[in-house]
Symmetry: C5
Subunit: 85 residues, 5 copies
């Protein structure tokens, strides 16, 4: 499970039906700068460090296998420092 | 879910039966320059910033598990700047 | 779906039973130089630019879920230039 | 299966229900410095070199398909040197 | 399917039950130096060049879906030169 930082909610006017009822966040790898979008069943705040599940586990982790994500936040890490990523 | 920019439709005279009835797009990671092909159930336009689902979720996201893709566009992102990728 | 160039058939005297009846090709990412092996249900020729499906979609794309590949050619791209990869 | 070094237990006050009853470890790739979180069904100690399974195999390896991980420790490697990673 | 070179058997005194009855090998990407662990249903020798299947295909390729690997050797490549990787 990857370790990433929460940056912002995702703003999108159009999404497929399989993602309509979920909260989406932009996550950032602070080392590489790469951003990804994840489903957030946890209720994260900007700046939180989280770990994520990829693949079919992400659908179950989103609380419903019908959620068509490949990345879901699984928990918030306590006391994580940016340089640890 | 990865964040990519729509570049162009994919032109191909031959494709496997499992992809015959879908719209295919070339997507580009503007940071690395890498291009990928994705199924587009959304109806994107060139230049749109989109996020994509990978793996088995991509087949469901394409609207039909019989579509043999590993990458499908899940939504169009509003107000995304190239430098954010 | 990744975009790769067909280099050559794969020559191997031993393969597992789950791959015995399929045509295997060496594909090359011309940007990174990395080579991979894919099942070819299409009948590609050396130099063709193709796009490939990864994961469980690759098994279905090979025409039979019993084919134990993780990468299958899904179509031949028309008019692709090397610098586009 | 990837080869990684055990660094520390993961400290997190909130995690999704699908990960509540498992032991989580931070693993580190000593070559790239990248850290990941894995389920530990083995009982590793800090400094151990382990190999991990990714994807759906990770859920079974955790001892229960209901565990929503994408990375699980599968064994402890004997006599591994850091420079081998 | 990735192309890798067989380096050595994996020596580990502890492994999860789902991997107890299989032969494990350390494989090496000679270009990047990265090592991985794979199930070997083929009987490779040190120095052999092999291609591998990833993900759920790896479990079937190991001869039994109960084998909790994410990487399995699928065949030995003839006449492969190191510089081709």
């Amino acid at each position: 499970m990857e370790i990433l930082q929460v940056e912002a909610p995702l703003v999108c006017t159009y999404r497929i039906p399989g993602l309509q009822h979920v909260s989406l966040r932009v996550l950032r790898n602070t080392k590489t700068g790469k951003r990804q979008v994840a489903v957030d069943p946890v209720g994260c705040r900007e700046g939180n460090w989280v770990f994520t599940s990829l693949g079919s586990a992400a659908r179950y982790a989103a609380g419903d296998y019908e959620v068509l994500t490949d990345l879901t936040i699984c928990g918030i890490i306590d006391n994580w420092e940016e340089e640890q990523q």
